[in-house]
Structures are given as structure tokens and as C-alpha cells.
Symmetry: C2
Subunit: 452 residues, 2 copies
């Protein structure tokens, strides 16, 4: 956008300059409309990001209003810089008290370090200050590389370097120094408070909640694949659409590369205060274990999905030998994962997933007994190996699914999930004897929806 001026100037040769200048507002208007349309589209696609931008605006306006009215307890003056810097740096997408803590700590430490340097007299200070700056800035920069520090304290460490350098390089005398340091800390505290208030009060974004939802929706994506796989592979599906058109067969792909975002969210989540259903010390690390098992399963799916592409070329009589057991395995794995995903989402414990795993294991046994009868005698082995590979991968998938369930059970016991039947606890009113009509109690299966 910023570079767009170039196209107007290159178009205009001397005789047409006036004409060009007249057309300029119109062109600029067109461009503005185009940009706003893109922004509107972006806002519709990512409402939470739009809200975050709104929050940053609000926080800065709050500071500008404070600055304008100059409350008696503190006049910002030249230190307004620090309040603005704090808001810009502390107010990140998700709620995180760690950044505020780091900011306080860094500010206080910076002042302390300067006081130490000040003790060595005028000349000593001129030599010591660069050495201190070099050592401290170098060390803190090195610490920024540590993944553990990076996510938690990155901004805090930038603030630390800044504060330290500025305080060291300031020309003020020691008595003024302390006053400046005091004012600066107060400014940082006010800035942090405004940032955190806005962060928590206006539509807060919780990294923990996001991680929780992502894990649950990733498991559901795998479930969608298994539910659609058998129909697709054994030619029972709608043949007007190709494999590429069917989105449920491709949603698992985003799971393949979900590792880094899950890890970041888990670190952020540990620094959030209690919120919603998540107590203090919620077992966020267990989510990562579930995520790892989900990815292992997704890699198997990636291998399976390549067999979908030429499933139509394989003679039906070869496929049909294993169709029944494979269909059951695939559907039961799908059900297991769907139930598990639902359990994670609603934080309930249920025995349903384990029952479906047991069904899938029975189907594996019946598949093996079919295989022992030498079903493909006389067939073309070039086709047979493909079908065999699908059978073999499906047998593996049952193990993966079971491991996902085990990790979820572990989470359920660590985070004390409620048994699912308790959710529907209640008393059934006895029907009076005079009432002769028939009462039917229907228990609907809860159908989960994919999280946005």
C-alpha cells in the first residue's frame, strides 16, 4: 500500500500532468475502497483479530485521555513514552500475566544495576558503563534464544535491555536518577495495568482455551477421515466427486504440521490465571502428549489416503474380501475418535471410546481370520499388495487410536473430568396411574460440531 504512489507518477508524462492530478483523488478513492473491502473480508474471516486490534486502540486511547487530563497523582510528562511502549509490548493476543511480571522485574533490575555502576566515580563509570552494557545486553540476548525463556519473557527481556541501556546512558545525577526511576516504574505499572485490564475485560483470548479446542478439533478431523474412508475406498461413495473434492478426506492435513503452534499455546497457557473450566495447574502438558499421538495417527492417514487415489482401478473382487472387516475397523476408529473429541471438548469422562476400540479390535481379529483363509488365490499380486497395504495400515491405526484414548484417559484423571452420565443427572417424575398415555424418553446422541 505504502509503495502504491509509484504507479501514478510513472503514468504521468508532462502534458497530461493536470489531467493526471484531477484523476488522482478518484484513483485514491478506488484504492481506498479496495483496501477497505480486503479489510472487511479479513475481519469476517478472523473476528478475534479484529477485536484484538480494537483492544490495542482502546488501551492507547485510555492512555492519551489520562495524559490529557493529567490526574493529580501522576503527570506523565516525558515518561509517556514508557506507558505507550508498555501497552504496545505487553498487550499481545492472549492474556498473559507473565509479560507484566517480567516488565516490572526488568524495570526494577535495570535501575538497581545503574546504581551499582554509579558507585565507581566519574571516570570509572565511563569505562564500566560500556562493559556493563555489553555484558548485560549480550547475556539477555543469549537468554532470548532459549525456547523456554523466549515464549515467556521475550518482551520482558527487550524492555530489560532498553531500560538498562537508557538508565546507564542518562546524564542525570544520582538523586535525580532515583526520582526518574520511580516515575518510570509508576508509568510502566500504569501502562501494564491498562494493558492487562483491557486484555482481560474486553473479549479475552485465552491460549489455554484455544489449545483445548484445537486438540479436540484435531481429533475430530481424524474421525471425519475414518468415517468417510471405507465408503470412499470400497467404491460405495458418490462417484461424481473426485477424492480432491471431498473436504472431509483432507481436513486431517492441518494436523500434520500442528506441532509448533500447540507447543506455543501450551507454554502461554501455563501463565494464564484460572478462567472458565480451567483451574490453576491444569495439566497443559498432557494436551501436548495427546497432540503427539494425534499426529502419529495423522501420518498413518497420510499413508492411507494415497491409496484412495487409485482405489477405483483395483478389481472389486480383490477389495471385497476384506471389505466388511475393514469397513468396521474404519468406522469404529472414527466413532472412537469422535467420542473422544467430544469428551475432551465437554471435559467429560466416558467409557464409549473404549467400547468402540474393543469393537475395532474384534474386527481386526476377524480380518486376520479372513486373511488366514488365503482369500486372494489367483489374483494379480500387483493389485493385491495395495489392498494388503491398506489392511495392514488399518490394523496399525487401531493401535494409534487406542493410544490417543489412553492419553485422553490420563488427561481425564489429571484434570478430573466429570463422568458423562453425571451431566444428565436428574429425577424422573413418576407418572400418575390415572394417566394412560404412553411416554417415550428419547436420548439423542450428541452430534459434535467442528470448532471454527
Amino acid at each position: 500500500m505504502a509503495f502504491s504512489g509509484a504507479e501514478y507518477t510513472t503514468d504521468c508524462s508532462c502534458p497530461h500532468t493536470l489531467q493526471c492530478l484531477r484523476a488522482l483523488p478518484e484513483k485514491l478513492w478506488c484504492r481506498l475502497v479496495k483496501v477497505s473491502k480486503i479489510a472487511m473480508k479479513f475481519g469476517e474471516d478472523h473476528p478475534r483479530r479484529l477485536i484484538h486490534s480494537f483492544k490495542v486502540g482502546v488501551a492507547l486511547v485510555l492512555i492519551s485521555i489520562l495524559h490529557h487530563f493529567r490526574p493529580s497523582f501522576y503527570a506523565f510528562g516525558d515518561n509517556i513514552m514508557w506507558a505507550v511502549l508498555t501497552v504496545v509490548v505487553v498487550l499481545e493476543f492472549s492474556v498473559g500475566l507473565n509479560r507484566m511480571l517480567a516488565t516490572f522485574l526488568a524495570g526494577a533490575l535495570g535501575v538497581g544495576a545503574h546504581c551499582l555502576a554509579n558507585l565507581s566515580g566519574d571516570k570509572g563509570e565511563a569505562v564500566l558503563t560500556p562493559i556493563f552494557i555489553f555484558l548485560i545486553a549480550g547475556t539477555v540476548t543469549l537468554m532470548r534464544f532459549s525456547p523456554r525463556f523466549k515464549v515467556r519473557y521475550d518482551y520482558g527481556m527487550i524492555i530489560f535491555i532498553l531500560t538498562f541501556c537508557l538508565v546507564s546512558l542518562s546524564d542525570e545525577k544520582e538523586s535525580e536518577m532515583l526520582e526518574i526511576a520511580h516515575e518510570r516504574l509508576l508509568t510502566i505499572i500504569i501502562g501494564s495495568c491498562i494493558a492487562v485490564m483491557v486484555c482481560i475485560c474486553i473479549c479475552p483470548v485465552w491460549a489455554g482455551q484455544d489449545l483445548h479446542n484445537e486438540i479436540s478439533s484435531n481429533i475430530e478431523k481424524l474421525a471425519l477421515f475414518f468415517e468417510g474412508f471405507s465408503d470412499e475406498y470400497f467404491n460405495n461413495s458418490d462417484t461424481t466427486q473426485t477424492v480432491q473434492d471431498k473436504s472431509f478426506l483432507h481436513r486431517y492435513k492441518s494436523v500434520l504440521s500442528s506441532k509448533s503452534s500447540e507447543e506455543t499455546m501450551a507454554v502461554l497457557a501455563r501463565w494464564e490465571p484460572c478462567h472458565g473450566k480451567f483451574k490453576f495447574h491444569h495439566p497443559w502438558k498432557q494436551y501436548l502428549k495427546i497432540g503427539n499421538q494425534t499426529r502419529v495417527c495423522a501420518y498413518k492417514i497420510e499413508a492411507l489416503s494415497s491409496y484412495l487415489l487409485h482405489s477405483k482401478q483395483i478389481p472389486h473382487e480383490i477389495q471385497s474380501m476384506i471389505q466388511e472387516s475393514c469397513t468396521i475397523i474404519s468406522l469404529e476408529c472414527g466413532k472412537t475418535l469422535k467420542e473422544s473429541s467430544l469428551g475432551v471438548r465437554h471435559m467429560t469422562k466416558s467409557s464409549m471410546p473404549n467400547q468402540h476400540v474393543a469393537n475395532a479390535k474384534n474386527a481386526v481379529e476377524s480380518l486376520k481370520s479372513v486373511l488366514r483363509t488365503n482369500p486372494w488365490e489367483g489374483g494379480d499380486y500387483v493389485d493385491i499388495i495395495e489392498v494388503a497395504a491398506v489392511a495392514s495400515l488399518l490394523i496399525d491405526v487401531v493401535d494409534c487410536t487406542q493410544k490417543i484414548c489412553e492419553e485422553i484417559d490420563e488427561l481425564a484423571s489429571l484434570a478430573r473430568f466429570v463422568p458423562s452420565q453425571l451431566l444428565h443427572q436428574g429425577t424422573v417424575q413418576p407418572i400418575s396411574k390415572r394417566d394412560d398415555s404412553i411416554h417415550v424418553i428419547t436420548i439423542d446422541e450428541i452430534t459434535p460440531r467442528l470448532y471454527e
Copy 2:
């Protein structure tokens, strides 16, 4: 580290305070030694990160020296803040001119925006400034979410918000404003120049070079797997080690989750000036395509590797039917990938990988003809499907390998790689007729080493 004080205070009950205080220096020293040991270890593991920290230190010391001597052309004064901020923010790990450009642009735009707001008189400004701040800060924050802007201009945009807010909130009159703006811009320019000079002159880290090396080493990791796979699967390998012990069978795992880091490096690489073997407009996007194909191949390897774990339980007579062709396929794929990786690393074009792909394809044909003879008659199909799955996956792998080669050929033509024989160009001295000794010219195969 910063919180470690707590453990000393909680240990000390009143009667032992003096004793505790005496032990304090010793405890502190122990902790210091421990921390330095960790730092030393870190520096040994990541020498480039250590150098980067050194560079940040040097840049800040340069500014403190400039500030101390106050050169006639410019006295930093209160604006020292901006030079420090610029260095901390601009001096990132890799060389990138984009950050300097964005910093300049944002500084200039911030001043311009304030001049506009100034035109509306005193009262108008009090109302307009918060509105402007809200609009601009909100918009820029929204822009920070766009992945395209995020990587290129993130720090520039933070500086933009900061500059804009500070200039808008400053109490100076317009004539002073321009002078401040001028001084601030000059400070930012000096800061940027120092940052960029240090970045380029002291052991520069080029994201492009990193991407180039990573792509090449990832392909080599796949090659290592294929070279070891057949020996491992067909029980020819050293049986004292388990599959878990053999690192060459697991190195491919890092390729599975390499997507995001490759994408980040590719975006950064496009903003670097020419360096080393990389000209302006080097086709960085093509590296991403190679990376995608490499990952597809790694997913197949992940599926293959699960069959290694119980390969020992499968009767040898079932495996032996396909052993010869599968061994050739696996070894030829390994050679293809090794040659390709070497070609990418040295930026040379060679016909060797395509020859190995052709060999692998011949082996696939002979595998298929073995399969057509119904080799496993009377065997247990539960074992047979596993071997069949391996055969089927290996056939798929040849396609993947070929696709990697095609993408590398595309890169070779886009980036004008040198034909590999030209590298060894030279003249062979004719041997004088009187010399009767036999001369042997050995042409060693170049064995590539895994990049650190």
C-alpha cells in the same frame, strides 16, 4: 534465576540468620558457577547464537561510545532512547534490510500524520488525536496479523505505533515538533546504520544460506534412511543394536515438522542483499516446493519405519521373495536423494539422480514381475500383508523421489546451477613416452556430510 532468592529467605529461621548470611556468598557463588556452566554448554551447542549476542553487545557499546564523545554533527541528548530502541529492535538474528526500510518509513509517516492532526486547532486536536490514535493503532495491529506483513514488517509496525503515539501525545509546539522529528529521524538512521553494519560485518547469518543448507540436509536425512532400511528390514544388519539405537533410521523425523521454519526462512531470505552464491532474485520459493515434496516423502518413511519394529517376527521365506528388488529400490532411492542433496548443496546440475531413479524404476518392474508369479502361496496372510505393505510403500516412494528430483531440476534451471562436470574441469598432462610406470587416475565419489 531471578526468583532464586526465595529459597534463602524461607530456609532462615531467626536464630540462624547470621549463619545463613555467612553461607549466602558461597551459595551465590555455587549458583553462579552452575549458571556459567549452563551458558558455556549452550555456547558450545549454538556458537552462532553466542556470536549474535556478542553483536548486540557491540552495537550498543558503539552507541554508548558515540553518546559519550558527542560528535559535532549530532548530540544524542534525550533522543538516545531512539537509537537504543532501534538497535534492539532492528538487530535480529539474520541480516534483513526490510526492517531498516520499515523503520525509516514508519518514522517519517508518524511525523506526517501528526502534522495533519495539528492543522485543526487546539480543541480539535484534543478530540482528533485519540480518534487518530485509535484508528491508526488498530489498523496497524490488524496488519500485524497478516502473515505476509508479520514476518517482514512486524518490528517496523511496532515502531510505527510507538512513533505515532509519542509524536501525537507530545506537548511541543509545531516549530519545535519538526526539529524533534528531524532529530528523532537522524537518531533512528544512526541506530539503524550501526545495527545493519554490525549485522553484516560481524559473522553475518543469512536466512537464505540457512534455508539452502536445511533443504539439502533434509534430503540427505531421507537418503540415510533408505540406505539403512533394506539391511534393517531384511535382517542383514547388526542385531546387537535395536531399531531405536540406530540414529540414521530416525533422523528423518525432524523433516516431518520442518514446514513453518522453512517458510519463515524463505520470507526472510527474499529481503536479504546478494551474498555468497545467491544472486538477487534467487528462486527462494522453489526451495519451499522442494521442501513440500521432501515432507511427503518423509510421511511415507514414517509409515515404512513402523514395519521395521516387528520385521524380525516375519518368517524369512516370506520376506526373501521380494528382498532383492526391494533392496535395490531402497538403495537406489537413497543414492538418488544423496546425489540430489549434494547437487543442491554445491549448486551443481547432474544427471546422476535421474539415472538412479531409472534404476529404481527398473527394480519396481522386476518387483512387479516377481509379484505376478504368486510368490507367497501357502504362507500366512497376516504376515504377508505386512511385507506387501512394505513393497507397496516402496513402490510409492520411487514416485516421491522422482518428484523431489523434478523440483530440484526446476531449481537448477531457475538458479542456473553449473553442470557438475565443469567443477572438475582441467587439463590432463600427457605422460612422456620415456616414463614406463603405470598411472592410475582414481575418481573418488564425493561423500557428503550432514550439515550441522
